[in-house]
Subunit: 497 residues, 2 copies
Amino acid sequence: MKLKVKDIDIATGWPLVAVLNELDALKLDLHYEDRLKIKKGRKSVIAIIDITESKKVVPTGQIGLYEEVLTKLNAKSGNFVDVSLVEKPVSIQYIKRKLKGKKLGYKEIYKIIDDINNNRLSEIEITYFVSACYTKGLDLDETVSLTKAMINTGGILKLNKYPVMDMHCIGGVAGNRTTMVVVPIVAAAGLTIPKTSSRSITSPSGTADTMEVLCNVCFSIKEIKNIIKKTNACLIWGGSVNLAPADDKIIRIEHPLSLDPEGQLLASILAKKKSVSATHLLIDIPVGKGAKIESRKKALYLKRLFESISKKLGIKIRVVIIDGSQPIGNGIGPELEARDVMWVLENDLRQPLDLKEKSIKMAGLLLEMGGKAKKGAGTKKALKILNSGAAYRKMMQIIRAQCGKKIKADDIKIGKFRYNFRAKKSGVVTHIDNDSISKIARAAGAPLDKGAGIYLHKHVKDSVKKGDKIFTVYAKNKQKLGYAVNVLRKIDGVVVK
Amino acid sequence: MKLKVKDIDIATGWPLVAVLNELDALKLDLHYEDRLKIKKGRKSVIAIIDITESKKVVPTGQIGLYEEVLTKLNAKSGNFVDVSLVEKPVSIQYIKRKLKGKKLGYKEIYKIIDDINNNRLSEIEITYFVSACYTKGLDLDETVSLTKAMINTGGILKLNKYPVMDMHCIGGVAGNRTTMVVVPIVAAAGLTIPKTSSRSITSPSGTADTMEVLCNVCFSIKEIKNIIKKTNACLIWGGSVNLAPADDKIIRIEHPLSLDPEGQLLASILAKKKSVSATHLLIDIPVGKGAKIESRKKALYLKRLFESISKKLGIKIRVVIIDGSQPIGNGIGPELEARDVMWVLENDLRQPLDLKEKSIKMAGLLLEMGGKAKKGAGTKKALKILNSGAAYRKMMQIIRAQCGKKIKADDIKIGKFRYNFRAKKSGVVTHIDNDSISKIARAAGAPLDKGAGIYLHKHVKDSVKKGDKIFTVYAKNKQKLGYAVNVLRKIDGVVVK
């Protein structure tokens, strides 16, 4: 059947969609979410069908095409295209099988992930998959299959080295920029550590956002290999190298219900590590009120899962469960965090000692795993590398290799407008809530305004007198400072007893 | 925050969607599928957010609004609107609870169904609900709650009568237009039977499509009351009176994976019956290869479920399980079926006896349930009413009350182009596949082309000689006849042994 193209001036991102009038759909015996092959000359695409009752949107005899489909077909309004029904992808049968509680094998999971990657499944279909994984659970084999499928459908940074170190933090703790201290220590010790990080989704800053204050974080795989050759390390945004790309689409589907199915969480983390050729991996699970994982029992469960799956993937792993009940470091927000990191590396008096302490502990474990320190001697070695200035010089090398400019903490400028939150009574700080601190920092403009955020003058267990500054909010302008103060008044987040 | 309206020239049907540029979403701290209140003057709507990276689609400072939102706000391109974040509907928490396997109460299920009805939930969110009901199942209480929620969120046809008879067939058997024979018999006996039917979704014709050959089937609740007052009955399309409206949206979500969760199926049927004030209900479950329910065990399970739920709803029910392994009647397709029905009512020699037999059996049971015949004497009474011409005269009354014209079988014109499928060898017909017959009839143009479809000359157990006509395909034009013959060659569907 031939139909006339109508340009629908919007991009859906994914998947590819074509809109037909109800009457044409009836004529062609097509239903909502059926697949249509659309041909123009030698070019063809497969799109998912949406059906409209409105003649205004798409009249009969026409087919509404979104930006992405038009580009792929090199078509414009008024062109004619040939359409024919094609079978639904077989992966839909596999999703249904999982919904019924059956176990899926590697080939089936690979097909689902490959189809998600290539925009062959609709949002509804992917939702069924996510939901099946959530309600029926993934067993060990399935999680390993999902991890392998994510690796094999994405980009790979092939490094012919051994060992290749890597680290990952489960997240949810404000500040916590240990990565940017650990990587230069480990690389200064002569180990390879190709670190990819994420940007913030719901936090005031991701490691990639904070590193971006100092230098570029988006590179191609070729450029990354060059950076690693020069410095043993990199500190880049994972999104720029297309590792495990199906993951982003799955996360988008999970967001409306804030789902976090374990199998998928683990597969997503491990796939990204395996994709950068990691052989040794340190996982950090902060536990505490307001952190992503709130109970020690859940953390131990995840630890065992990580260990089992890593074994099957041939990755040597070490999982540490640490206190995540309050923010780590003083700064929260990209520039405030970057300044903390540089103060630690510069051994400046203003450095946050909790960040330093956690970083050398983590770096120490990696040094032990990589054979650069004996068991139990890692922390001491890491501290030595940090205090000698070797880690600072390594960080400068990395920043320069990543086209950076700012290499001193004092080069970093913080938001001009500020508000001090002061203690309403004297006592001891007993709780600083990660979640509340994040919300205030985001309201102030973080992570988009790099200089916005919060600086903590006090931590849990510190004594305060009435009127003492507990934290300062920074913002780019008065209005955003106002937003943050509004949020602060509603949720507070600091307990003094 | 104020944003400038950009008109996006497409209607989504539901839910209400607003598109923001990625940078504005970041500034407002909004995420995919968050809710936004959009205000213009005194009018406001709540829309679900979609986020675009493309400046071409929606530039920063603007908000892309679809047709439905523009209409509700009375806004056009260039207007300014005020936007603010609103909380997600609480029903999302209930959906998550069900996904986790918890049981939902009436208030929670009502809120979900009400939000689906009022376009407050996105497709992804509804998919999670459908999927939770499918994987975790609905127990008896939950199914009753779902049924009541569907009744209380939709239109109601209030009839102050007792008894009010109704019937429903689970479907999947081609032809099977018993309803159009049963209703006039039952009404002629003096019982009230307000029958609403569906249109075809994947079959060659629904009862509403077939009835539409003879008269109008879309009426308002007021008009329907009038028709019932005149005739004791009606034979209309349920979609025109908005009974249990959430149902259609749920069915649309189930379609991509062809899911059919029992709880939802039963709730959907019983809600529609309760909404027309039915007090006595006859359910017909055809069982057999190619029917919707293929095993007797499954049919018995559904029978018990129907009985339990109806009891809680105060409906007297009778469930019959009958042979559904082959089509019933000779015609398949709107006009071919309507002609069969009229032949039965007219007692014409060409009437299909299987349709007649099944219809008097069903009508007999309804007469017994409604107190118009003693137990065991219903079929005989029904046959008497049919043979006396009273049912035919009642059907004429109904057709006239529904603004109809054609009241004789011979007024009905069948598709001009035809193809005879003949026996390739002599023997006995052992199988006629419902599903294959449906596909061929749809390819020929049914239900859109009212005259298209199939006429069966032979049924299962009939003897045939090589070259005998087994069925004839009818179509409006040569091309569609070609489509049907192509399908026929691929799937066949008739077994002669």
